[in-house]
C-alpha cells in the first residue's frame, strides 16, 4: 500500500513539475531582481545590512508635516504618460490619490517577562497582501545599543503575532519538542545555528512564536518568556503617515525602532501588491497585464541616509532636498530623493517604478507625528 501511494505521489509531483514557470522568463528577469534585492538589502525592512556611520545624537522632531494635512491636490504627471503595457519603471505619478492603509496595528500580546538585559527596540508590521488580510507583528528585544541607521541589525528575541490564521498548524514549525504554553500545545526547537524558538497557538486563529536569533538564552528562559505572554490592548503606531502613493500602490510593511524614543527610526515599504508577496492570483494578474509587475518605494526617516552622496539640489515644500543618481548597473533602475527635515532628521525615498516627481509627491504628502514611542529602549 505504501508503495502504491508513493507512486501516486511521484506521478503528482512529476505533473506539478511540468507546470513549472518558464526558465527563460526567470532568466530574463534576473537583472531586475538583482537590482531589487540589492535595494532591499541596503534599504529594506528585513534586517538589511547597512554600512552608514551611526549618528549618536538624535534630535527630537516635533510634529511635522512636509505638506498640507489634507491630501495633495490633483496634479498632472510631470513625465510622459507610460504606456499601459509598459514596464513599471516608466510609471509616472497617477492623477488620483487613493486612501492609504493604516499602519496602526493592535499589539495583541506581550511578554510580561523578558530575560535580564533585553529591551524592546523594534516593532515591525507586515500588512497582508490586501486590505482584508490580517497583519503580522514582530516585536524585537535586544541587548546593547542598536545601530542608529538600521535597528534591525544584530540578533535578538522576537515575538511574532499572527492573527486571522485559518489553519495555525500550517504555519507552525511542529518539528520540535512538544511543550505546554499555558495550556496550549507548543513546539520548542532547541538551539541550532544560534537559533531557538517556541511557537504555539493560543486559539482563535492566532499563532505566536518567540524566536531567539544570535543571542544566548536557555530553553527554560525561552519557555518562561513564552509562558509570560498575555493579551496586550496597545496599538503599534508609526510616526510617519503617507497620504499619497502612486495609483495602485499600497503600504505593505512598516518598521519603527531605534535606540530610544528620541532616536527613533521609521521605514515604510509600499508598492504594488505584487511586491514581496507571491500568490497564484497576483502572478496571473501580472502576467495578464492587469496589475503592474513591479514598483516599490522605501521611505526611511531617521538621522542618517543611505543614499549616495551628491545629486541635484531641489526643494520639496520648502525643505532642501537632493536627487542622487547611481550610475552602476543595479542602481540605474532606482530613483532617490533625500529631504532634509531639520533637526538632523532626514527622509530618504528610494524607489523602483516611479519618477522623481512621484517621490516628491510622496514626500510632500508625508506627515510625521513622533508620539507613542516611549516603549523604544524599555
Amino acid at each position: 500500500m505504501t508503495r502504491e501511494i508513493e507512486d501516486v505521489i511521484r506521478a503528482a509531483q512529476s505533473r506539478r513539475a511540468e507546470q513549472a514557470p518558464s526558465a527563460e522568463r526567470i532568466r530574463a528577469g534576473l537583472p531586475r531582481r538583482a537590482a531589487k534585492v540589492r535595494n532591499q538589502r541596503r534599504y529594506g525592512l528585513a534586517g538589511a545590512v547597512v554600512a552608514a556611520a551611526a549618528v549618536t545624537a538624535a534630535a527630537v522632531v516635533p510634529s511635522l508635516a512636509l505638506g498640507d494635512r489634507t491630501p495633495p491636490a490633483v496634479v498632472q504627471p510631470a513625465g510622459p504618460a507610460g504606456s499601459p503595457s509598459g514596464p513599471a519603471k516608466s510609471a509616472a505619478p497617477a492623477t488620483s490619490a487613493a486612501p492609504q492603509r493604516s499602519l496602526e496595528v493592535a499589539l495583541g500580546f506581550r511578554p510580561h517577562w523578558v530575560p535580564s538585559g533585553f529591551r524592546e527596540h523594534l516593532r515591525h508590521v507586515m500588512l497582508g497582501a490586501d486590505d482584508g488580510a490580517d497583519p503580522t507583528l514582530l516585536r524585537v528585544w535586544k541587548t546593547g545599543v542598536p545601530d542608529a541607521a538600521d535597528p534591525t541589525k544584530g540578533g535578538g528575541l522576537s515575538l511574532s503575532v499572527s492573527t486571522g490564521v485559518e489553519d495555525p498548524a500550517n504555519i507552525q514549525d511542529t518539528s520540535g519538542e512538544r511543550v505546554d504554553i499555558n495550556g496550549a500545545p507548543g513546539f520548542l526547537s532547541g538551539a541550532r545555528d544560534g537559533k531557538s524558538s517556541v511557537s504555539w497557538s493560543p486559539g482563535e486563529g492566532t499563532v505566536l512564536s518567540i524566536d531567539a536569533s544570535r543571542v544566548r538564552i536557555s530553553e527554560s528562559d525561552l519557555l518562561k518568556m513564552a509562558r509570560s505572554v498575555r493579551p496586550d490592548t496597545g496599538v503599534a503606531t508609526n510616526p510617519v503617515r503617507l497620504t499619497w502613493l502612486p495609483d495602485g500602490w499600497v503600504s505593505q510593511a512598516a518598521l519603527v525602532g531605534g535606540r530610544s524614543a528620541a532616536g527613533w527610526h521609521s521605514e515604510i515599504l509600499a508598492g504594488t501588491p505584487m511586491t514581496g508577496v507571491s500568490s497564484d492570483v497576483q502572478g496571473k494578474e501580472a502576467k495578464e497585464g492587469k496589475v503592474s509587475t513591479g514598483g516599490d518605494v522605501n521611505i526611511t526617516v531617521g538621522t542618517t541616509s543611505l543614499a549616495p552622496a551628491g545629486g541635484t539640489i531641489l526643494t520639496v515644500n520648502g525643505w532642501r532636498a537632493r536627487n542622487p543618481v547611481r550610475t552602476d548597473l543595479p542602481g540605474q533602475s532606482l530613483t532617490y530623493l533625500v529631504v532634509e527635515l531639520g533637526g538632523g532628521r532626514l527622509m530618504t525615498l528610494v524607489s523602483q517604478g516611479t519618477t522623481l516627481d512621484g517621490l516628491k509627491r510622496i514626500a510632500e504628502g508625508a506627515e510625521i507625528e513622533p508620539s507613542g514611542l516611549e516603549w523604544i529602549g524599555r
Partner: protein, 178 residues
C-alpha cells in the same frame, strides 16, 4: 542522489544557470507546489548564489547547495506565510486541475493527490519533494533541512498518513494488489 550532480566544478555562474535552470525551476515548483512562488524563490536564490558563486563553485556539489538554498528560502518564516495560502485558495486549486472529468482511475489518483499535497504543511511538502521527487535518503534530507533524521521520518510519516487517509477510499483501493 538526484540533487548533487549535474554540474562540474569550476563552471561559471552563467554556465550553471544555462545548464541547470530548468531543473532548478521544476524542483522549486515541486517543493513549493506554487509555480509563482517558485519563480520568486528561484530568482532570489540565484541572485544570492551569483554573489557567492566563487565559493559555491568550489563545492563538491554546487547544485545541491543551491537546492538547499531553495528549500531554506521556502521554509523561512516569511515564505511560510505566503505559502500557507496555497491550500486555501480555490482558484489556486482549480488551476491545478483539468476542468473536464477524467475517467481514468490512475489519473484520478494523481489529480486527487495534486490537491492533497497542496494541503500539507510546507515542511511536510518539502520533505516529500526531497524524498520522492529528488529521491534523497532520510539522512540527506536531514542534512539539507538541518534537523535530525527522526524529525524527517516524523514529517514523512505524517505526510504519508495524511495523504493516505485523505485520498478518496475508492481511489485508495485501486492501488491495492489484486
Amino acid at each position: 542522489m538526484g540533487g548533487g550532480g549535474g554540474v562540474s566544478e569550476g563552471v561559471t555562474f552563467e554556465e550553471f544557470v544555462s545548464a541547470r535552470l530548468g531543473v532548478l525551476v521544476r524542483y522549486a515548483t515541486v517543493v513549493t507546489w506554487d509555480p509563482h512562488l517558485a519563480e520568486d524563490i528561484i530568482q532570489n536564490v540565484l541572485v544570492r548564489a551569483q554573489s557567492r558563486w566563487p565559493r559555491i563553485s568550489r563545492m563538491e556539489a554546487p547544485e545541491l547547495y543551491v537546492k538547499r538554498m531553495v528549500v531554506n528560502e521556502f521554509l523561512s518564516w516569511r515564505r511560510r506565510r505566503a505559502a500557507r495560502t496555497v491550500p486555501l485558495t480555490g482558484e489556486v486549486l482549480d488551476g491545478f486541475l483539468p476542468s473536464a472529468p477524467d475517467h481514468i482511475v490512475q489519473r484520478d489518483d494523481r489529480d486527487a493527490m495534486l490537491r492533497l499535497i497542496a494541503t500539507l504543511p510546507p515542511r511536510q511538502r518539502a520533505v516529500i519533494a526531497l524524498r520522492f521527487y529528488e529521491d534523497l535518503t532520510v539522512d540527506q534530507i536531514a542534512e539539507i533541512l538541518g534537523c535530525r533524521t527522526v524529525t524527517v521520518r516524523t514529517h514523512l510519516s505524517r505526510a504519508l498518513a495524511s495523504l493516505q487517509n485523505a485520498l478518496p477510499a475508492t481511489l485508495v483501493t485501486t492501488g491495492e494488489p489484486s
